[in-house]
Amino acid sequence: MPTKIEKDAVSGRDTTGHEWDGIKELDTPLPKWWLYTFYACIGIAFVIFFLYPSIPYGPGYWHGVMGYSQRKMVDAEVAKLTAIRKVSLDKIGSLSFEQIKADPQLLEVAMTDGRITFAENCQPCHGAGGGGHIGYPALAAGSWLWGGTLDDIQQTVTHGIRSGDDDARNSAMPHFGADGLLKPAEIQQVADFVWSTFYGHKTEGQDVSAGAKIFAENCIACHGENGEGNRVVGAPRLNSHIHLYGDARETIVAQVTLPRQGVMPNWNHRLDPATIKAVTLYVHALGGGE
């Protein structure tokens, strides 16, 4: 194939010696700057291979002589942050709620920590500002199921409700309808009673005495004679305007038939005790604290 290398008259370069149908190819070399950059890149690649974790072999991998590790770096960064926070968090963890409240600077730190923790962890259920949703109690309203003192809130946040934690708050309303403890007609009667007496929807001339009797026999042990509820067993107060599962009469029927048993996760596996105290202070200050 190669015929003969000759000088091109126009460019002054040699040809490669290849010729196809009279067309010849110039032997133009790569630009020097490009060629040496290319060689330099290959060289740098070997240097980086040597310095940083690169290739796996046998029982492990080449760790590199720089000791570079993203895991160590993030551990160090988190440790640095923890050390800065430790000053305040240790105090929050060891002092009582009263003592924290007495120190305005510390209280501000705790409230800020609480606000951020609340937004990431609590807000998806309890809503921004603790407004609550159907099935997820409002925290700003002061209508507590299990108690609204700082200690109560701390206990609830730490161990949760029906969460499976050993110290979780636990209670289960009987399945009056689903387990046949009350007949459907009786459930309607007791719903009429609760709806008219506690929810405040009295109808002239309506006789709810049958429902009152059923209520007295089945419900007052937990919900109280006047529907005032019982926080020891987390039995909701019925004689208020705040109802966990909605204000409609059907919700009473549904709840008596097959009660929803809300679950709150225990946060002791995700948040440290001092942060739980901080979020407790924040929740307490949302408007419903006792």
């Binding site: 796996p56 492990g60 991998y61 993030v74 960064e77 809503g127 949703h133 996760p265």
Partner: protein, 239 residues
Amino acid sequence: MFIRHEWFEKNALLLLIGSLLTISIGGIVEIVPLFTIETTVEHVDGIRPYSPLELRGRDIYVREGCYLCHSQQIRTLRDEVERYGHYSIAAESMYDHPFQWGSKRIGPDLARVGGKYSNDWHYAHLKNAQSLVPESLMPHYAFLSETPLQTDDIVERMTTLRTLGTPYTDDDIANAKADLLAQADPAADNAKLVGRYPKAIEASGNGKEVTEADALVAYLQMLGTLVNFADTNTERLRQ
């Protein structure tokens, strides 16, 4: 440079041997390191294959394209560790075929979402995310809790995964359907299920049939819960 190009151009056999040599070098560099890939995955206590219901939930997760908005990979960045918890380790997705690390982070990372919310919350949130999180961009998946879960092919699915290296035992596969139904029924006795798949979380179910939402919730509720990072053995394995 050192070898005259002409030799290769004029000799077909030499060209063949030369090409083969060049391609082999490329191949060896790419393939040989993979023989030792096992050594780069830490072996961590607690990692287990998915239970049958979780596995189906994972299929739904993939089918609905959840990975297009949600990642499952807490990176080694301070802010992510702060928000989501311990950074993800390779072993946590060792039984994922394919892994669901994702790359878009439109929604929050889900690598450790297990146990963060209640089952009820997940059902309600899948149905209508904005009812709980007003600023959410998530589409509604209400149909999941109305669609019966296809369960008759669970054995085939698990057998297929076994050929890919997921260590399902014969016992696991023989009991697949029973385990699946037990996990979707809060009233069922779960001792055997939890014996085979520790930390499996029961879906709440609707008491009638197993729905796709049940499977998805069971899957979401176990994400990131298997490894106990407080365990000293786990600490030691960190590179």
